[in-house]
Amino acid sequence: MDFILNRYRNISVLLAVILAQLVLLAYQVKGNNDVRLIRVWAVTAVTPLARVLEGFRSSTFGFLKDYVVLVDTRAENARLVEELGRLRMENQYLKTELATADRAQALAAFEKRSPSKTIAARIIGTGTGANSKMVFVDRGTTSGVQKGMAVVTPDGIVGKVLASYPTAAQVLLITDPTFAAGVVSEKNRVPGVLKGLGRGACSVEYVEIEEKVEAGEWYYTSGDDRVFPKGLPVGRASVVRTGKLFKEIFIVPSGFQRGLEEVLVVIEGVHQPLPEGQVAAEGSYAMPPPPDEQQSAGGSGQRSDMATDADRVRRQYQRIGEAQGHQFGGPGVPNFNVRPPQQKPPAPAPAAGSPAQTPAPAAPKPAGDSQQQAAPSRP
């Protein structure tokens, strides 16, 4: 026995460790349980270091920027060329500061304006793995952040809290393939399910082909998922096309457009009304009758005998045969490439109110069933 254990010690340990992890996986997947203790240990070990690094980085960069500006200030009196460079650099720096201030101001304004209770958080890390669409924020259970809370920016939704730890929280971004949320289109209130694609864009799924959705249309949260309050912007439909079973709609998320440094975690969500969008097509549209039918009916209100396309083709071949003096059923074949002479339609009857003569209403702008590219403007 000892010999066997020693002989196969390595492979036995390997199998035992893999088996233990398979059991751990099965326990989590089967019962939808989470082994929280291990995660808490790992996150508590890593995120404080990330926070320290972030603090060190921001203070160091701030010091370096200040120092560079100071050197330029001294050199200002000596060399005019450096004066120009310094001013340009300072200008760039101020632009960056302004952008930062704008972002912070926008965040604060949104926080005040939004009826939902939110808390500001800072991104301090990303998830592991090359394709990870997950980030860590510096707010956790001690700040009241709980699993399942929505994470937004003033520009749109960003993700949802996947897990909350004492010092940090894990946020699943809306671009992750496992993310899903209920959304609704702006104009016709067409509901769908937002799903991540693992890259920059998202898709809206389960939208029936008959529904009217236009490229460039905005999508908002529907509030059905009980994570995101209703009425938060999601993004703009960049591509709308007809798929096999459902429409294929791709969304450019609006929440990331100013970068992802600061976010708001929605502590208590309050549903908001959806913005009033222009309804795409109202009323009904009566198409004009087919031209052949108009010609044969002559607007007299009589029913045409050219009921089908086959009838029209037969009639056309008859005209070709008559024009060439050909007797169908006899020898030879007429030249079907020759265009037959057009018959003059009979004069229209004077009777008024004929439905065929009633001018058709102006056709509305057709809905975007076929593939469309979005206009760049934001509504």
């Binding site: 390595n10 992890q21 996150v43 990303t126 592991t128 997950m134 992750d176 393939p177």
Partner: protein, 180 residues
């Protein structure tokens, strides 16, 4: 065996030196690698393609030359990575366990101080790691994890290239009193 073969393959398994490290190195280096993977891609997105925890696993397994130690090291680093991802615990754990085991086993056959061997092993284990992670994700979780062979080939080249300076830097952390 010709000269080249003699350089790359070890004639007897135990002739190579077993490197030793201080316990703090085993703790801090993997932690730093995980921290790098979590923090640095925030500022330079392309650093997200570097799989430093994998390189660290491969390095310590190669240098330790003990499959059992490689198994446990890979499992622990993998589980820490799992803890920081949104996947169930065990995905990275299982893959890195296998990587640790095979790396330690290979170290008994190859001269792992040779840069060419390190380059090849770095590429091989990166590809193995990504492929096996994809297989596990599909088979055990049924998740649509993407796997692009060409992209992973390129990333494997990148990671193997990075592994050379990383391994070289880690060589500096070796304890001076190495076992022979």
């Amino acid at each position: 065996m010709n000269d080249l073969g003699g350089h790359l393959l070890m004639e007897t398994p135990r002739r190579s030196r077993v490197s030793r490290f201080r316990p703090a190195v085993f703790l801090l280096v993997p932690l730093a690698a995980v921290l790098f993977q979590v923090y640095v891609p925030l500022f330079v997105e392309y650093f997200g393609y570097l799989e430093l925890p994998l390189l660290v696993t491969v390095y310590f397994a190669l240098m330790g030359r003990k499959p059992v130690a490689g198994v446990f090291l890979g499992a622990i680093i993998g589980l820490v990575q799992d803890s920081l991802s949104h996947q169930p615990l065990g995905m990275f754990g299982i893959v890195k366990t296998l990587v640790g085991y095979f790396a330690a086993s290979m170290s008994q056959r190859f001269d792992v101080d040779n840069p060419a061997i390190r380059l090849i092993l770095g590429f091989f284990f990166f590809f193995f790691h990504q492929f096996f992670y994809w297989v596990l994700g599909r088979a055990l979780l049924g998740q649509p994890i993407p796997f692009d062979p060409l992209q992973n080939f390129a990333l494997g080249m990148l990671n193997s290239a990075v592994s050379l300076p990383v391994f070289y830097a880690l060589d500096k952390l070796k304890d001076r009193g190495e076992l022979r």
